[in-house]
Subunit: 140 residues, 2 copies
DNA sequence: ACTTAGTTTAGAACTATTATAAAGTAGATA
DNA sequence: TATCTACTTTATAATAGTTCTAAACTAAGT
């Protein structure tokens, strides 16, 4: 394979540090996910459809799942669930909260929510993170 | 079908007000779910397995799903998701929060968490509820 | 008791995801 | 650069949770 010009090096590095060889398909996925101004939320199916739309030779479903799982395990993606039995992924890996508005997911920056009171972790356990979901509905 | 003695009337009432006739199967499900000292969390598969274990004539999968969905739509159950693409249901329908501890779900009473600061809803929207998930991990 | 709209059920269908295994490739080595 | 091999991609099958279908059954009104 052709050596990539080094402007995509940071996307390649995410793959390598996720334990993945930077193949053509994976570099495209990593670049698609992380070369953007704003973070976003996606399902694997959405990712596959939007990337494959513009390609003649499609990337396979298994490659999308494998790559997303490895990036998630390495901490470059966060996973969450709505109430529809589908995994969603978030390219914003900082600790933050969400509005859920009929299937639409909107970030809430961490400093927009603060706590007056929080419970202790049960003994033998400690708190990994605290995440808030604010469900929305339409006015009237 | 034999008329139920009226000590199960409140479980029958939940069915009726969910738009369901109180059939033998549904009354057993409703009674199993709501005749207890403590609320609990379950998946439909778990509910089916634990109820059918002690029965000679099994209740069908479709009846479990139908009944749970109707009870949920009527507000007698709340639904939530972990990160495993399965729907969980909660017989505690009051507003409350959860610890998630490796697939185990523990209630946190509403008054154990209070907020110093919360964001406004986006315009045209209002807040339906605010729910906190505290993810746990083992000490050390 | 009769009637019928609603219900139960087995099984098929569907959707998201994971597993399989054959063919292809990255990257190390000669 | 040619060779080698462990890793990767892919088509496809398998699985799991859930929903749909339609025939047999039943609650409950008359
Ligand atoms: Mn997954
Ligand atoms: Mn459901
Ligand atoms: Zn987010
Ligand atoms: Zn709960």
């Amino acid at each position: 394979m052709q050596k990539m010009n080094n402007k995509n090096q940071i996307f390649i590095d995410k793959l390598r540090s996720s334990g993945l060889r930077p193949t053509k398909q994976r570099v495209e996925i990593s670049t698609f996910l992380f070369k953007r101004k704003k973070t976003f939320h996606f399902t694997v199916e959405e990712l596959k459809n939007s990337m494959n739309l513009k390609r003649s030779k499609k990337i396979s479903t298994a490659t999308f799942y494998n790559t997303v799982h490895a990036l998630k395990s390495a901490g470059y993606l966060k996973e969450f669930s709505l109430e529809n039995n589908t995994s969603y992924y978030d390219t914003n890996i900082s600790s933050h909260h969400h509005f859920f508005d009929n299937g639409k997911v909107i970030d809430i920056k961490s400093d927009k929510i603060t706590f007056k009171k929080l419970p202790e972790a049960p003994k033998g356990k400690k708190i990994k993170n605290v995440e808030v979901v604010i469900r929305l509905e339409n006015n009237n």
